[in-house]
């Protein structure tokens, strides 16, 4: 069994398992010194009880019945109450522990019940049998032979005393009768002495005292000693006080005029008084005769009487004495029961508590609190078990700390990866480059918003096979690229792919790259798409600008000599027969030359268009001012203005934008054949940092196939026109960092949308 029980406490030291706090010791149960002291006190109490019990017959009856008995009863009831309380408390605790399912509660209950039964039953049986034994033993103290012996002894002693006293009384009476004729008042006391002395000398009595009754009334001392004769055998130290009192008593109560004067170890004096009466019968004196019983005789008589009295007193006090012994016995039994109960509970706890502590600590560790320890305080098997448990807990704690460190490291890496992923995802979502990735199985794993927008795909295609996603005819080349890249061909080349998006041709630069894992195994492919349509457009515009510049340069130079030559021909042939023909021809030449000059000027202007000088401008005001130019000009054309409120100032070249608006509105009017409704609208797009200018008409519209050509130089659907208007418009918008698109208007017509950054 473990000698000590430890409790669990968390360890708090940094870096090492936390040091256990001192367990909350129970002041008595866990302190062997106190236990030993308690046992010593119990032994002393029992010894004191035995001592008092042994001395019980010698105690005074009052002390015995008024103090000892009450004290014992009070102690018994106190111990009984404490015992019952302890018993009930332990039982209730055990019941509660069992109901709560505490570990080892059932075992503890059985242990306590067993120990209780082992002590309670024998103790109760011993109490019953012992009580009956005490009662019968006390009864047996007083038996008939002892009664008779002691009574007889006392009778002998008392009779002897009585006989001697009768003799003394007879002598006193005789002497009083003999002294009756003698004058006690005479001064000569020799007659009295002569009469009394023989009794003393012959040892009929040991002492005779003669008193005279004073005739004077009112005397303080009615009796006066006359003669006092004592035998030499009388012990020293006797006095006349007893004889004086007896003489005085004889005058009032002559029948009881005898007494015994105890002289201690010297013996007893038996006094008897008799009245000396005169001839008239009146008392004239008193004789006190005294006999002497030697010390040995008196002592023997006293011892016999004392034995008789002690016996009878014990008999009288038989019941209280029985009560005292029963109380003693009950107290010892209760103390044994109390000690046994307490010891049973204590032993049960001593046995189960270390295991309970281990169980509780195991539960704590099972709950994740690995810093729990059980403090070992014994070197026995339980101590070894506790050591092994603590070692296991320490190793568990170390392992857990390693796991926690690894987890923290993993979490940190995960956070980093997640951040990187979010970073890449954000980039992928923000960039205009489309990215599509597929796994080794050919399923789409990611598609960013740019790719979805460029390819007109939904982002819900993630997880679908490539062939399903790219099943459109214009997307087949991309599917082939991805399949080829997934075929573990890491070399990638840029492919230009044209697709149709909302009826417009979009040029994409597509690069498919194989994804290869650390082991070299193919893990899929990634397709990167760039919308190169603006680039191609810019290249085309640049080419056209170069063409226009050269054309203007090459054409404009010969036009002036042609024009001058035509005018000279007209002057030379003026008034001639061929004047009409000449005028007609020259007029035609000059007119066409002028027309060519105008065309060349436009080309020149297109080629040499200056860079925009942007300043913060109120776009709505600019549009409104521009549209005001059309007021009252076209009666059948309705221009509706829809301006967004709160639009911010936009950095732009007002003159160039005005030209853009005029160009678009002119084109719309021309397209509607100067009859219809034009909506000019400004919109805000704070989310994308854009403002939009929309010019929509309800004219016949533009076929989708021709929309892209609209912005090419020298393309026009009008009968007259250089075909540079929309090309210039696109260039202006492009140089402002914006875009222009054309689409169908609802329900009919054409809709131009300009987006400018703000």
């Amino acid at each position: 069994m473990a000698a000590t029980v430890t409790s669990i406490a968390p360890r708090r030291a940094a870096g090492t398992p936390r040091t256990p706090l001192p367990p909350p010791r129970r002041p008595f149960r866990d302190n062997p010194r106190l236990i030993l002291a308690g046992i010593a006190v119990l032994v002393v109490v029992l010894a004191a009880i035995l001592t008092v019990a042994n001395r019980t017959p010698r105690l005074s009856p009052d002390f015995l019945t008024e103090f000892v008995l009450y004290a014992l009863s009070a102690a018994d009831f106190t111990i009984l109450i404490v015992f019952v309380w302890l018993l009930v408390r332990n039982i209730v605790k055990l019941v509660v522990e069992r109901r709560h399912g505490l570990p080892f509660a059932r075992f503890r209950s059985k242990l306590v019940a067993l120990l209780l039964a082992m002590t309670l039953v024998p103790a109760v049986l011993v109490l019953i049998v012992g009580s009956e034994l005490i009662r019968t033993s006390v009864d047996r103290w007083f038996n008939a032979p002892m009664d008779e012996v002691l009574a007889s002894a006392n009778q002998i002693a008392a009779d002897y005393y009585h006989e001697r006293q009768v003799q003394v009384r007879d002598h006193a009476t005789r002497i009083a009768r003999e002294l009756a004729p003698i004058d006690l008042t005479a001064g000569d006391v020799r007659p009295i002495r002569d009469r009394v002395a023989p009794d003393v000398n012959l040892q009929r009595v040991q002492m005779v005292e003669v008193y005279r009754v004073e005739p004077t009334a009112g005397s303080l001392q009615p009796l006066q000693p006359v003669v006092d004769i004592a035998a030499p055998a009388l012990p020293p130290g006797y006095g006349r006080a007893a004889a004086d009192r007896l003489a005085a008593q004889a005058l009032t109560a002559p029948a009881d005029a005898h007494s015994i004067e105890a002289l201690g170890d010297s013996g007893d004096l038996l006094h008897a008084a008799a009245i000396i009466r005169g001839k008239d019968g009146r008392p004239k004196g008193v004789v006190v005769a005294t006999d002497y019983l030697t010390g040995d005789l008196a002592a023997r008589s006293r011892r016999m009487t004392r034995a008789f009295e002690d016996y009878n007193q014990l008999k009288v006090l038989k019941r209280p004495l029985t009560g005292v012994y029963l109380s003693f016995f009950l107290m010892v039994t209760l103390l044994i029961l109390f000690g046994a109960t307490w010891m049973g509970s204590y032993l049960a706890k001593r046995i189960t508590r270390p295991v309970q502590m281990l169980s509780a600590a195991a539960r704590e560790i099972g709950a994740g609190r690995l810093d729990q320890r059980v403090e070992p305080q014994s070197a026995d098997e339980f101590g070894a078990l506790v050591d092994a448990f603590n070692t296991m807990a320490g190793e568990l704690a170390t392992s857990r700390r390693r796991v926690e460190r690894s987890t923290i490291e993993l979490e940190r890496k995960h956070v980093e990866v997640e951040g990187r992923r979010r970073y890449i995802e954000t980039i992928l979502e923000r960039i205009t480059t489309g990215v599509v990735s597929v796994d080794a199985a050919g399923a789409v794993t990611t598609i960013n918003s740019a790719a979805a927008r460029l390819l007109s795909l939904s982002r819900s295609v993630v997880g679908q096979p490539v062939h399903t996603v790219f099943d459109r005819a214009d997307l087949q080349p991309l599917a082939m690229l991805l399949v080829a890249a997934a075929g573990a061909r890491p070399e990638s080349a840029v492919h230009e792919v044209s697709i149709l998006r909302e009826g417009q041709e979009v040029h994409l630069a597509a690069v498919a790259t194989a994804l290869v894992g650390d082991t070299g195994a193919p893990e899929g492919a990634v397709l990167v798409l760039d919308d190169v349509t603006p680039l191609i457009r810019a290249q085309k515009v640049a080419a056209w600008r170069e063409v226009a510049r050269r054309l203007a340069h090459e054409i404009k130079n010969p036009l002036t000599p042609i024009q001058l030559s035509a005018e000279r021909l007209r002057k030379h042939f003026a008034g001639g027969s061929a004047q009409a023909l000449v005028d007609e021809c020259t007029t035609t030449i000059v007119g066409e030359v002028e027309s060519l000059k105008g065309l060349v000027d436009e080309f020149s202007q297109f080629a040499r268009m200056p860079a925009p000088r942007t300043v913060p401008t109120d776009l709505a005001q600019l549009v409104a001012d521009t549209l005001a130019l059309y007021n009252g000009i076209f009666r059948d054309v309705q221009i509706e203005r829809r301006f967004a409120e709160g639009a911010p100032l936009v950095r732009l070249d007002a003159e160039q934008i005005r030209r853009v608006i005029i160009n678009l509105v002119d084109n719309a009017i021309e397209a509607m054949e100067r009859r219809g409704r034009i909506v000019v609208e400004t919109q805000r797009d704070p989310a994308n940092g854009l403002v939009r200018i929309v010019v929509a008409d309800d004219g016949p519209g533009i076929p989708a196939a021709e929309r892209e050509k609209l912005f090419l130089p020298y393309y026009s659907t009008k009968r007259r026109g250089s075909g540079l208007g929309l090309a210039i418009v696109r260039r202006i918008i492009a140089e402002h960092g914006g875009t222009i698109d054309v689409g169908d208007n609802t329900p009919r017509g054409t809709r131009f949308t300009i987006e400018l950054p703000c």
Binding site: P61, D62, L64, T65, E66, L69, Y70, S73, A113, L116, A117, L120, V121, V124, L125, L127, I128, S131, E132, R135, N154, A157, A158, Y161, H162, D256, S259, I260, S301, R302, T305, F308, E309, N312, Q313, K315, V316, L317, R319, P320, T322, G323, V324, L326
Partner: protein, 181 residues
């Protein structure tokens, strides 16, 4: 072991204890107060108080004492007020050698009287009969007020025993009177 199994044992134990209980016959204490000559005099007699157990105790030579606490009290609605009280103790000691009883009587600890006798009846009267014991002066009483005299008698030594010793051992006697000057 079930508790039920212990019940017969406990009952046997209690019965064994109760078997030791011996209750004496109930004595009667007759109290007679009398206001005369400026004093409240009390006479009382303890009938059946001189039991055989007491006689045996006296005959055994045990000093035996009858103690009487005599109180003159005024009844009030809440707490009764003690006007006067005295304690009378009558003791006797029998000498089995000389066969004489030595009696003494004390009031409030002062020995008032002492006598020897050889007559047990005289001892009984000495111990149980008290005539015209002065208790208080009538000047301490209110005219026409109700009073009562309560006498509580104790005997020693105790010759009985019970498992519950705190029984009402005191013998109580009480007499009411109205003081009419």
């Amino acid at each position: 072991m079930k508790i039920c199994a212990l019940l017969p044992v406990g009952a046997l134990l209690v019965a064994s204890m109760l078997g030791c209980i011996v209750r004496a016959a109930e004595p009667d204490l007759t109290v007679t107060p009398l206001a005369r000559d400026g004093q409240v005099l009390v006479s009382f007699e303890l009938s059946d108080g001189f039991t055989s157990e007491m006689r045996e105790a006296i005959q055994s030579g045990l000093p035996t004492t009858f103690s009487y606490q005599v109180e003159l009290r005024r009844a009030t609605p809440v707490f009764d007020r003690t006007v006067a009280s005295i304690t009378i103790t009558a003791s006797v000691h029998f000498d089995n050698l000389t066969r004489r009883y030595q009696m003494s009587k004390s009031v409030d600890g002062r020995v008032e009287d002492a006598q020897p006798t050889e007559d047990l009846e005289a001892v009984r009267r000495w111990m149980t009969v008290f005539k015209s014991v002065p208790l208080s002066r009538t000047t301490a009483l209110e005219p026409n007020a109700e009073y009562y005299v309560r006498v509580r008698a104790h005997t020693r030594p105790k010759t009985t025993w019970s498992i519950w010793p705190w029984d009402a051992r005191a013998i109580l006697g009480l007499a009411k009177f109205t003081f009419i000057p």
